[in-house]
């Protein structure tokens, strides 16, 4: 078994509407895989099918080597937080975890360990209904970690967390990944995913746009040179000069964005000099995941 998740032609249709259409992708074992797509693109539907909560209309798949039509075979090794944390409001955080620990047959001692791990050791005895959104999210992550999972499926785990909470989740994911846990995480915080996810599955309108290594996706995108003339009056003149030489350019926020790799920097600089324009900065950049996402999804 080399994949934590593998799906082929996975499809879910609700009446006339197709929530997921012939999705095929693999998530390698031990990898952190980001799962991205605009709202309504089919991410949660996919996750629910992987967890046996909804039945696919078509297609096949495996999780940890077992068919998704037999979730009972792999779910004991899977931790999941789906579409936000859902718990019993009248029970404390600790008691909510104990309910799930009893249900899964996990040792009750894990509850205190996990509350400490997600920073809720002081509020474990407070009722869930008194928790802030961030605390609820942390409890959801603790619940997902109850089985000491080989695969962790997280749907928007940083929703509602403050910057330090987001950083803690990022570190937690890195820590778990270092221990060999496969992690499939959906998030709208693409900058976060770029930092932690070596693999990526991108959806749009129920179809897979990209599935593979994050690095491959980013490298496949054209590099950008950011050239800033010393004087703002030279912006449009410089853009024209570059366009006339065959470069694809846009002007944004006092900077000329040139679709070109770092090797073209000398040529661009020379053209500026020959046109009597002084550049105050010239920087070569690669598009971020967020920029790539917007370009690919047309959002």
């Amino acid at each position: 078994m080399t994949t934590a998740i593998s799906v082929q032609d996975l499809t879910k249709v609700y009446g006339e509407r197709s929530a997921l259409s012939h999705a095929s992708f693999d998530v390698p074992l031990g990898a952190v895989c980001g799962f991205v797509g605009p709202n309504g693109s089919g991410k949660t539907t996919t996750i629910r099918m992987l967890l046996g909560l909804i039945t696919p209309t078509g297609g096949t798949g495996t999780v940890l080597g077992e068919s998704i039509s037999h979730p009972e075979k792999y779910l004991p090794n899977v931790g999941a937080m789906i579409e936000g944390p859902a718990f019993y409001p009248a029970l404390s955080g600790a008691e909510n975890l104990r309910v799930l620990a009893s249900l899964g047959g996990f040792p009750q001692e894990r509850v205190e360990i996990l509350l400490e791990k997600v920073g809720l050791e002081d509020r474990g005895q407070s009722k869930f209904k008194t928790y802030s959104l961030g605390m609820k999210q942390r409890l959801g992550i603790a619940a997902a970690l109850l089985p000491q999972p080989r695969l962790l499926v997280l749907d928007e785990p940083t929703n509602g967390l403050d910057p330090s909470g987001i950083q803690e989740v990022r570190n937690l994911i890195k820590e778990l990944a270092a221990d060999g846990t496969s992690i499939f995480v959906s998030s709208h915080l693409l900058s976060e995913l770029e930092m932690i996810a070596e693999h990526l599955v991108m959806l749009r309108e129920g179809k897979v746009l990209f599935a593979g290594r994050t690095q491959d996706l980013l490298q496949a995108q054209s590099a950008i040179l950011l050239a800033k003339p010393e004087f703002a009056v030279d912006l449009n003149k410089f853009a024209s000069v570059l366009q006339n030489s065959g470069f694809k350019v846009t002007v944004e926020n006092g900077v000329v964005n040139i679709v070109a790799d770092a090797d073209s920097a000398a040529k661009v600089n020379r053209m500026a000099f020959e046109s009597g324009i002084t550049l105050s900065s010239l920087v070569a950049t690669q598009p971020t995941l967020e920029e790539t996402f917007f370009e690919m999804t047309g959002e």
Binding site: L53, I82, F87, G104
Partner: protein, 263 residues
């Protein structure tokens, strides 16, 4: 399945649910038993059919369980509400997905839930029995009711039978609540439907067309608790209730097993 039961009992034993429900049951039982003993020999009597109960009736072995079984209907309604809310709230809170990820065998979830709620119902019936017997003994002297027949073997057998019958009736109402909870997936809708049907519609129907009462589920559940009535036998009520409940439960169990959990 036992893991599910253990998990469910953790939810059911929370003080606000367990103690408040037991308190309500004890208060109701205490109230009704007190009324029976304080109104002995009055013209209309406490019996719902208007029969007069006097000290000689209560001095017999059935005097021990009179208060106990008269509250069976309210026990049933309580069970209906608890079973319905405990089942339907999994949908409204979104916690069903957590349960199914930890226990994907959906029939085990249902069976475990049902077992835990059966234990809860046993606790309620025990509380009912204890209060009814306690109040009966406490008021027997005041009402000039002899208690010597209450400690005979016949009284103990009768107590055992009544306990089982009240428990069966309570479980029947509870099962109805669970069925409605699975069907409506909303505690408010399930409880409202169950209570309005049992408290109002069945009574109107049986009052308007008396022949319907032997076919109405709630009337039959209550008849089980009373150990049968001259108009409808105990066995008729037991068998018909089983047919209704098993049939309805099978339908909602299939729905529960097959339905996508999309919330």
């Amino acid at each position: 399945m036992l893991n599910v039961t253990r998990a469910e009992l953790r939810k059911l034993r929370r003080p606000t649910l367990l103690y408040s429900t037991i308190l309500v049951v004890m208060l109701l039982t205490g109230l009704f038993t007190t009324i029976i003993f304080l109104r002995i020999g009055t013209a209309h009597g406490p019996n719902r059919r208007g029969d007069m109960i006097d000290a000689s009736i209560l001095s017999q072995p059935q005097g021990l369980v009179y208060g106990f079984k008269i509250v069976a209907f309210f026990l049933g309604i309580t069970a209906l509400c608890v079973f319905a809310s405990q089942t339907a709230q999994e949908y409204t809170l979104g916690t069903l997905r957590n349960l199914l990820v930890r226990q994907p065998a959906r029939m085990k979830i249902l069976a475990g839930k049902y077992l835990s709620m059966t234990i809860f119902a046993i606790v309620l019936v025990l509380a009912d029995a204890l209060v009814a017997i306690g109040v009966s003994y406490a008021l027997a002297g005041h009402a000039k009711v002899s208690t010597s027949a209450w400690i005979t073997s016949a009284a103990l057998v009768l107590f055992g039978k009544t306990f089982v019958n009240v428990l069966l009736a309570t479980m029947a109402y509870g099962t109805l609540g669970m069925i409605l909870g699975l069907l409506f997936r909303s505690p408010i809708s399930a409880i409202a439907t169950g209570v309005i049907w049992s408290l109002i519609l069945e009574n109107i129907l049986s009052a308007v067309v008396s022949s319907t009462s032997k076919w109405l589920p709630g009337q039959n559940f209550s008849n089980i608790a009373q150990g049968g009535a001259p108009e409808v036998s105990y066995h008729w009520s037991l068998i018909l209730s089983l047919i209704y409940l098993i049939g309805a439960f099978a339908i909602v169990a299939i729905l529960f097993k097959r339905r996508d959990v999309a919330n």
